[in-house]
Symmetry: D3
Subunit: 242 residues, 6 copies
Amino acid sequence: MALDKTIVDTLSAVSTATLTTILLKKGLRNVWLRGPKPLRPSSLRLVGPAFTLRFVPSREDLATPESWASPKSTRAAIEDMPDGCIAVVDAMGITDAGIFGDILCARMRKRGVTALVTDGVVRDVEGVLGTGLPVWCQGWAAPPSVAGLTFVNWQEPIGCGGVAVFPDDLIVADADGAVVVPKALVDEIVALGPEQERLENWVMGEIEKGVPLPGLYPANAETRARYEAEMRKAGHRSRATD
Amino acid sequence: MALDKTIVDTLSAVSTATLTTILLKKGLRNVWLRGPKPLRPSSLRLVGPAFTLRFVPSREDLATPESWASPKSTRAAIEDMPDGCIAVVDAMGITDAGIFGDILCARMRKRGVTALVTDGVVRDVEGVLGTGLPVWCQGWAAPPSVAGLTFVNWQEPIGCGGVAVFPDDLIVADADGAVVVPKALVDEIVALGPEQERLENWVMGEIEKGVPLPGLYPANAETRARYEAEMRKAGHRSRATD
Amino acid sequence: MALDKTIVDTLSAVSTATLTTILLKKGLRNVWLRGPKPLRPSSLRLVGPAFTLRFVPSREDLATPESWASPKSTRAAIEDMPDGCIAVVDAMGITDAGIFGDILCARMRKRGVTALVTDGVVRDVEGVLGTGLPVWCQGWAAPPSVAGLTFVNWQEPIGCGGVAVFPDDLIVADADGAVVVPKALVDEIVALGPEQERLENWVMGEIEKGVPLPGLYPANAETRARYEAEMRKAGHRSRATD
Amino acid sequence: MALDKTIVDTLSAVSTATLTTILLKKGLRNVWLRGPKPLRPSSLRLVGPAFTLRFVPSREDLATPESWASPKSTRAAIEDMPDGCIAVVDAMGITDAGIFGDILCARMRKRGVTALVTDGVVRDVEGVLGTGLPVWCQGWAAPPSVAGLTFVNWQEPIGCGGVAVFPDDLIVADADGAVVVPKALVDEIVALGPEQERLENWVMGEIEKGVPLPGLYPANAETRARYEAEMRKAGHRSRATD
Amino acid sequence: MALDKTIVDTLSAVSTATLTTILLKKGLRNVWLRGPKPLRPSSLRLVGPAFTLRFVPSREDLATPESWASPKSTRAAIEDMPDGCIAVVDAMGITDAGIFGDILCARMRKRGVTALVTDGVVRDVEGVLGTGLPVWCQGWAAPPSVAGLTFVNWQEPIGCGGVAVFPDDLIVADADGAVVVPKALVDEIVALGPEQERLENWVMGEIEKGVPLPGLYPANAETRARYEAEMRKAGHRSRATD
Amino acid sequence: MALDKTIVDTLSAVSTATLTTILLKKGLRNVWLRGPKPLRPSSLRLVGPAFTLRFVPSREDLATPESWASPKSTRAAIEDMPDGCIAVVDAMGITDAGIFGDILCARMRKRGVTALVTDGVVRDVEGVLGTGLPVWCQGWAAPPSVAGLTFVNWQEPIGCGGVAVFPDDLIVADADGAVVVPKALVDEIVALGPEQERLENWVMGEIEKGVPLPGLYPANAETRARYEAEMRKAGHRSRATD
């Protein structure tokens, strides 16, 4: 799925904190992946369609170095990743076997993958950082994936960090972690996100002026009227968010 | 996969404790599913090919009562289960949403399913016991599956209780829990299992006579000779197990 | 709060499994208390208004045997419990200090308390069973509450097993565990519960006749028409449940 | 250490719940082993000196079936256990590898071992129950110890269920689990235990008569005077316990 | 409670490591909050009276964006916080819903709150860091508090990180985390803390000179005499600490 | 055990990620310690023989400040550490009591200890960093070891982070954590490690040139021939690694 550039640009300006608030108002409470955090602290926010990978636990007769050459290998999955996707890997939250090291991350980077998101860990952390591929994960470990994991397939529905992710759902990841926006809700979220960000920025300004919280946040009718007046003056067209 | 009756009969006489010992000698240390225990204490040992089902976490836009009618539903999976199979369900170890209640278990029973094995829980425990379907699970909970789980597919590789299970691997379940015998190893295990049981029973007899452990268990050369002599007298053909 | 006898009688015939299904259709997914199970296996279903108690962690200067005589003691709370209530105790899920032993449970029994529900454990399990007080808990431990817990108050909002419970919410507890029905929803649930039970019982009968799942459960239009015809014949007035 | 028969007889009449209360008054809050419960529900209370065993995690080059014949084996430890001891096994809380099965438990029974206590699990649960050896553990699993554990030594200080146990500390185990009484405190506990049991039984009688909790439990001066008068009448010499 | 400036100044020079040692010598072993760490690494040590807030789990009928305007809201609690207090928030250790974001933290900062301490997490981590409010927490997450938490009250006894905290207990927080000093013990700790710090600094100097540990730390009589002589020379009045 | 300088030099150039791959090919899957990470991010790789220390849980009658002067104290263990060793401490994964603070770490540094590795935590984190002793641990906490731990012995087999460590096994620690190389396998690993590093570096170069993964990694016959030709040209003697 090639993603409309407008979607990427718009959502790159909406924090995952704001996205979860908007999705909760739509009834979706479980959209933030538990575990993945940026491997290197950064202010980056990245947006892309999910390309999913799935592991099951290791079994000594399956998860061997030899298996790396099987047709259902992580290597084959990586060669199938489209430019701009975000690879989302279900590692069942296992933190004592690294799903990928520097070599696979370098290849993903070469192929134009936007980011790697997993509820597991990577290995050879300095090598992975060296590749420049943005990674959201639970940390790192020395052992290879086969010490705890068997790769089984890609582009299937997965669970990652306690959240359901389907191929081509939208992923937004920033300092707070990674959020899934279900494909069917993308247009609605794109419409609501920027307005919510604008409102929250305005509230921060009011706080700086010393306005107390009651009536300000959430806004009562008087506050809302004041906000909308200021926005109109500033040339923005406000859009009700709840 | 219809399973040879000899395999079922032979393995019905080999405990899961013995199976894990034999599989460990073949290099497989991770074959016992963590979590599943018999729902009702019993001496039953059941054997059958795995029929796998897979859940991911719930998402409010997906895991609704309405979803029960979708083509990728647990209902469709159950109607696809062959006589004699053991349904193995990857519920990601979630214990606060029951994967099945009395209605689905009753239907599985009707269809000739041998047993249900899961790292999750069932719901309406008294109703499920009433159906007579043998169940190995982590317990029970009142909430429906959609409160925590979204069903996605069947007959895929899964993880269950930290163990990889592939469709048509063999499952053996008894009081100690459930063990997977990888399909490719079944013949070998069928050949070794009964001899190992016979040896351990003989050792128990020696213990009863007051023989101390060193030299007896594991058996040294003298003990082994004595065992083999007795077995020959009893008409068994012994087979080295290590 | 004295509870209308009709409410108790009606909900005593509705399983907690059915209640969680109905509450989920109303948008409430988190109403089943994680942890509490019947201390002694039984088919009992009990209904009553919640009387809440709250513990915080122990602190050596506070949680002493002497504290048992303080005005904010569990003793004082018990003497305040009304006839027919269900005591719900927030023990923060701690399983290595028993909140109550035989003496306190015997006194609750004397005072007409319907049941004790907690995400913690009791102590002196044989003594507690001897009192005849129905208990839903996580098990039992020898140490006294002061080894891990400090009692602070009663009839406050609490968390119990990951669920919010407010004083006078309704509690229903059976073999599957304990469910909270928020006070404001009781009338609605009382109206819907029996019909849902009736429908599920009818479906079980169909399963017994060999009817396959698709179309039956959940019911399609044809099945629903057949069900309603049979119910009318049997003299029941059906009520749409979704 | 041969244990004075008077100690065994006296403590066999004092519940672990009472023991933890007395030890807490002496400043010991961490004496109840987290995890071990009777393998088969029973009213048995057993008392004996601790004979400790220690495992570390498994390593494929060490934890092999072959290792069972090493001089630092569980077999050698068992042959060293004195009559009347309670074997206390540090299995690091691991629940997916059984420390002992029927053969080792049968031999312990033969040697006069009073009980087995562990924060791990046993294997071949039906076989172990068949030996008649009383066992306190976390449950059972099919895999052999070598799948997760390497035995290293016996009669060393260990941790078991989060509690420090030294060789020859006293162990008391009943339905509530197992408690360690440090060797140096045994005489003091033997002196205080029976009186505390007597007091609690008297309080239960008062509760049955309908006496409310405040002033009764814990006893105020008036209650205590009444209790002591009744005890004197019954011919017991009371001993202050706090 | 306005806190005496001398107390703040004195304890600002005593590390939480030293405080836990002193409190342990007074019999308090459970005073360090498990979980809270500085959000941004820093050498800051802050001291203030606890202002407590309490959450229970979320319930869909309660934990809505609308609830933010209820009289029992976090907004109202914040407007009640006195200058110089340390807000201590019981979030039940939940790490997948942020208790506060940039707006609420900015307002706390405006009101002169010294620090925020919680066993939960914040949200919009970059925004929170931008406010300059010192925060000790378990990390951060994107979802709003209502996704997992319902706010119920303030200035009640709470548990935070497994420790009991009462309103107006003293909180000291530094790089090692946060420690509670029970109100009744503050004067005693203020008296002992600086001497303990002085002693440990002197010991570090001795280590640098190559003095071995035995006899030095803990100090035997000879070492102590030497230390006291040096302190007298330096004009300090030593005070026995054990 | 004085360690051959060649071993230290050789393994200082082999990452723990590479070591775990090589050990897995030898059948050892459980050699990476779960938990220990560098206390301060660094590119340091350190190598040394394990000097083991063992704690059990605390008991109020044992784990007192007074115990610091006992002959089985951490102080005595430290004075016994040889130059160049890596201290490996079994703290049972406990994270709320610091095993060592600045004083003990400073003394270890003075004695020439190469590094401290533990599955527990240190205390007074800034002080510990100030000593310059390289530390791999799970983090830090304010409370002293006696708040949760009792030291029992040194140079015994231990478990650390779920891995068995014997005295004089080799420890290699870098950014990815710490790995144990069993003493008996050291020579073999020293022979294989550098070649594996060389191969992986060459593969990274190929990735940079845009070579796709299939056939490259793992290398097929053609790739391997190409690699070996280049190495021969560069003057390296390749050594088969699987």
